[in-house]
């Protein structure tokens, strides 16, 4: 930083730009006035009102379940896709697979959402499933785009892993499946964890795709927040935002602590896993 003070100043300014609006959200969540913009004294009433809001609480529960199952399935699919792309030589369909892994990373959500909804409508007409849309259709949609992110994260880690250990295991007679679970999997475990967490937050955060493929029974948290925010600012949403920011900060702090303790080589690898994410 000493060589180029301009970029150093820009970095600090950029971080302030990223964090000040979030700080404002947090500060106003403790405002006792209903008007978010006028400070009327410290109060925690909005947190209590949030805890009493049945609609938000049930939406949180639905979103957490969808995110858990989407992230878990996305880790399975994404790891397989990454393994195929990194470890397998050319085969028919490899280009198609790699395109289908990178395209969801940038595809506008309205296109993904609309196309999946039309698919579900067609499937319902043709084979009678899914009969009505809800958590299962959101789970499929989230799994699909999250597995692309997981695949990129895991692929970058797989490329770092020493292939000769896997080869040694197989030369000693271990079957491919056993080699994968006993040798490869432990080595890429940090990337799987990073991929799972990334998929979990992506699923928890998605509004547009879920709005398209959801049915009357399944209202996720972003859908509730969006319909409330559309009416204008509301201190209850500020309280919710504060809780989310706190949870993510805590998780990041823990991840940082783990990474800092682990040896520097591992840390470098994990850094690469994370950067590959988006």
């Amino acid at each position: 930083m000493r060589k180029s003070s301009f970029s150093g100043v820009m970095l600090i300014a950029g971080l302030l730009f990223l964090y000040l609006p979030m700080l404002v959200l947090v500060v106003y969540s403790f405002n006792s006035s209903r008007l978010v913009t006028v400070w009327a004294g410290f109060s925690t009433r909005w947190y209590f009102e949030l805890m009493r809001d049945e609609q938000i609480l049930s939406a949180v529960w639905i979103s957490l379940r969808i995110a858990f199952f989407s992230a878990s399935m996305a880790v399975c699919l994404g790891t397989m896709a990454a393994f195929v792309m990194v470890r397998f030589a050319r085969f028919r369909g490899k280009t198609a697979l790699s395109s289908m892994v990178t395209a969801p990373l940038v595809m506008p959500e309205v296109i993904t959402g609309l196309s999946l909804l039309l698919l579900f409508v067609h499937m319902a007409q043709l084979i009678g499933w899914p009969e009505d849309r809800g958590m299962v259709t959101i789970w499929i949609a989230h799994t699909t785009f999250c597995s692309a992110y997981v695949a990129v994260v895991v692929a970058s880690r797989l490329r770092e892993v020493d292939l000769s250990i896997e080869e040694a295991a197989m030369d000693l007679g271990a079957r491919p499946l056993r080699t994968f679970f006993q040798i490869t999997l432990p080595m890429i475990a940090p990337a799987l964890a990073a991929g799972w967490l990334l998929a979990f937050t992506l699923s928890l955060d998605d509004l547009v795709i879920a709005s398209f493929v959801s049915g009357p029974g399944a209202t996720t948290l972003p859908m509730v927040v969006f319909s409330s925010v559309r009416m204008g600012v509301s201190p209850k949403i500020n309280a919710l935002a504060t809780l989310i920011i706190m949870a993510v900060s805590l998780a990041t702090l823990m991840a940082w602590y783990v990474m800092r303790r682990s040896e520097s080589r591992r840390r470098q690898a994990m850094l690469q896993d994370m950067t590959a994410g988006r």
Binding site: S4, G14, V24, R87, V106, L119, E166, L177, D205
Partner: protein, 302 residues
């Protein structure tokens, strides 16, 4: 690496096919195939039925009738609302991408030059906001920019202005929102690229008498082209189809295609026009997506 083509086959005998098949089938069914269906629906007519469109393939009396309606596309081309919505989206996304690059590049540069033990902290600090909630981060600006929001209140209190400046529900707010929401995704690939930059090349340039600005323009920037492309595409492509930001921060005059598509689908229930809108948007974005894919696959194969 010599017997690269031989090894995998030996390693993963019969199970290999299954490992390939599962992700390939899933993504084909739930990512690729849906685009074909969108194309099909975009060539049908809106109808008052469930689902609300006419059949494209009709099999009756041992004849297959295929009725393709190109009216939806013609409608998009002739109605100035849609044309200006596409134009507006591309313009806003482009402007936001350039701003992201101008802010993000120095940030990534400073991060890559920071002491090693600081880099992880800085990276986590840049990425942390993107792990919280997109919706809530956009919402934060509503409270800051509105007529009785933080900025206007402070300016009036300081006596700089008498009446509030209208900032929320303008194109300015939309661009600000996009830059804010997507900045981490610009910084990340740039940082990944710049950390791999060979410092000896910069030293060589300086030894040969190159000035700092000259080195930046003729050595650093060309070498980080890959990161610039990846970061720009990660911002530009999703921003063109953005719905949440123009809906919450934009005003009635903000025409963006994601918002129009949403309205056609949810409010007008015109699925064929919404599908045609999606297909045209995809056609506009196919070159940027291919560019991004080329960079990504190069990254994956390195």
């Amino acid at each position: 690496m010599f017997n690269f083509t031989v090894r995998p086959r030996r390693l993963f005998g019969p199970g290999r096919r299954w490992v390939i098949a599962v992700p390939l089938l899933w993504l084909t069914l739930f990512f690729l195939l849906p685009f074909g269906i969108v194309l099909k629906i975009s060539l049908s007519q809106a109808a008052i039925s469930i689902p609300p469109y006419s059949a494209v393939f009709d099999y009756a009396n041992e004849t297959l009738n295929i009725i393709l309606t190109f009216g939806n596309y013609l409608f998009l081309a002739t109605d100035s609302l849609y044309v200006s919505a596409y134009w507006g989206s591309v313009k806003i996304a482009l402007l936001a991408t350039v701003l992201c690059l101008l802010i993000g590049y120095p940030m990534a540069y400073a991060m890559a030059r920071a002491p090693a033990h600081w880099q992880l902290v800085l990276l986590l600090l840049v990425m942390l906001p993107s792990w919280t909630s997109f919706l809530i981060r956009v919402y934060a600006w509503m409270g800051i920019l509105s007529n009785n929001g933080l900025i206007n209140n402070v300016l009036i209190w300081a006596g700089l202005i008498d009446s509030p400046i209208r900032m929320l529900n303008t194109n300015f707010a939309v661009i600000l929102g996009i830059v804010y929401a997507y900045l981490p995704f610009m910084v990340l690939p740039l940082y990944a690229n710049l950390t791999r930059l060979d410092v000896s090349l910069l030293e060589a340039a300086s030894d040969l008498g190159s000035r700092k600005l000259n080195t930046l323009l003729r050595v650093t920037l060309p070498l980080s082209k890959g990161g610039i492309i990846a970061g720009s595409m990660l911002v530009f492509i999703p921003a063109v189809g953005e719905f949440v930001i123009p809906e919450l921060l934009g005003g009635p005059s903000t025409l963006m295609i994601g918002k129009v598509l949403w309205a056609e689908f949810f409010h007008n229930r015109d699925w064929p026009v919404a599908s045609a809108l999606a297909m045209v948007m995809l056609a506009i974005l196919i070159v940027p997506i291919a560019l991004f894919h080329r960079y990504q696959s190069r990254e994956l194969e390195e």
